[in-house]
Amino acid sequence: MRSALDIARDVRSGATTAERETASSLAAIRERNDELNVFLFVDEEGALGAARRVDERVARGEEVGSLAGVPIALKDNLCQMGVPTTAGSKILQGWRPPYSATVIGRILDAGAVPMGKTNMDEFAMGSSTETSAYGPTRNPLDVDRVPGGSSGGSASAVAADMTPLSLGSDTGGSIRQPAALCGLVGVKPTYGLVSRYGLIAFASSLDQIGPFAKNVTDAATLLEVIAGHDPMDSTSLPEPAPSLVRHVNDGVAGRRVGLVRELFEGADDEVVAEVGRAATALRDAGATIVELSIPEIHLTLSAYYLIAPAEASSNLARYDGVRYGLRVDGDDVAAMNEATRTAGFGAEVKRRIMLGTYALSAGYYDAYYGQALKVRTQLIDAFRRAYLETDLLLGATTPSVAFALGEKTADPMAMYLSDVFTIPTNLAGDAAISVPFGVGRAGLPIGVQLLGPGRSEARLFAAARVLEVADERS
């Protein structure tokens, strides 16, 4: 499939039409969706309508945005008016939101064509897309393996050439990890850079929406469209979207890159080897590599598995059978709430709600949640210190290449450990990008991760582009 940039250019010039691109995306979806279980809902009618509107704008000679006619897949936790939105959960089966997320308005303004909603771990709780109430998504590169998660559907849509772009959300690595496992570029933007309005919350202080793409420039283009202040989100950064595409080819000459031991230690040898190779590529492009240790990272997994479930336990209380979604009746309202939630939530969601409820409950708050918030402070301070002597950090995205379906479902702790390199960025509120670099066993992709302080996206994309070019050459 051609890049988003090429499609948009050709749609604007009249060399192709949005409708034709949309039809070709629909055909690709039809071809493999049954096998891979990528889309929970394909919005054929809506997509063709949106495409025709783009074509009409082009025909009228109007300025059409940077995503003119580009098909895009949306993670199913993004509310789109009138389109079924489930967050991968049975409890929201059949719900059609009466409003749209801010990011959806922005991509439509830029001319993109939303194709439908992609599968995900239930409420984004998972690292393999296996906790979805609607069955797992398969990795298009090896259908016996997971695509990663929780945004596994959005990653697979791009990896299977169904759409050149997709949107996911990243709370602890849910964009970067599947990007790595599917051979894509995936970005976790600075907290507050992209509006969360209309994103079904998992953990509010950690969630960010971000792009998947086949290449760095496409990812930058999409992020530029969705970023920028939104008055509907109190945690939205006050400034407009940064220029990203313009800086993609800035290179890394003169940059200091910290190679962080805790961000690759314990990973498979093949992964560690690629991280080393990436460091060399950056050095060859003019960066200085500094070896670093940030021991506070060791504590982040524990802190994350208290903070995220705590927030989630409260965010998911509203699924009570009263106003929307599933209801399982009971004798009184409390019994109805309980029956609904018991039937509507899957095991992983229940586990996290239980964990979060416990961590916040009287007598345990100080020992668990309160301590976790302090660990978060320490981690933020540690990153701040690291960024005093570096411009960027480098590490692995995941400990291994894509694992087999079912391999970790019986052992929650093993699954949680697969996010160990991505979680620190979410806790710090910083930015990070996963970029494909090299291949591992059975030809499966490996991703390396570039991390930067808040608002460092332009710098990250430039470094990612350097790795992209180096990887193509090797």
Partner: protein
């Protein structure tokens, strides 16, 4: 300091969270949550006296909006979502007990 997770703790938490667990689930959750909490004990044990907790990654303050009306939703659209609605209202089984 934290003590190991007991089965009755899990049952109590399930009640707070409005979830009902089978006996088998109770056992399973007790074991699994216990494992996560055991992992979490590494931070529970830290001496972090004087460290300021972080609830937000960035220090934005005073984000407010003007007191200006915006369109509300159409009532039909609102009630169309409801599992049960009567007389323009959301209907639920009887409420036992008053709001706290």
């Amino acid at each position: 300091m934290t003590s190991p997770l007991r089965r009755e703790d899990v049952a109590k938490v399930a009640k707070l969270a409005r979830l009902s667990l089978s006996e088998a689930e109770l056992d399973e959750f007790t074991a699994q949550l216990g494992q996560v909490l055991e992992h979490a004990n590494d931070i529970a044990a830290l001496d972090l006296e004087g460290v300021v907790p972080t609830a937000h990654p960035f220090g934005l303050i005073n984000v407010v909006r003007e007191d200006v009306r915006r369109a509300s939703l159409a009532r039909d659209d609102v009630l169309a979502m409801a599992p049960d609605a009567r007389d323009g209202r959301f209907a639920v089984p009887r409420i036992m007990g008053e709001a706290p």
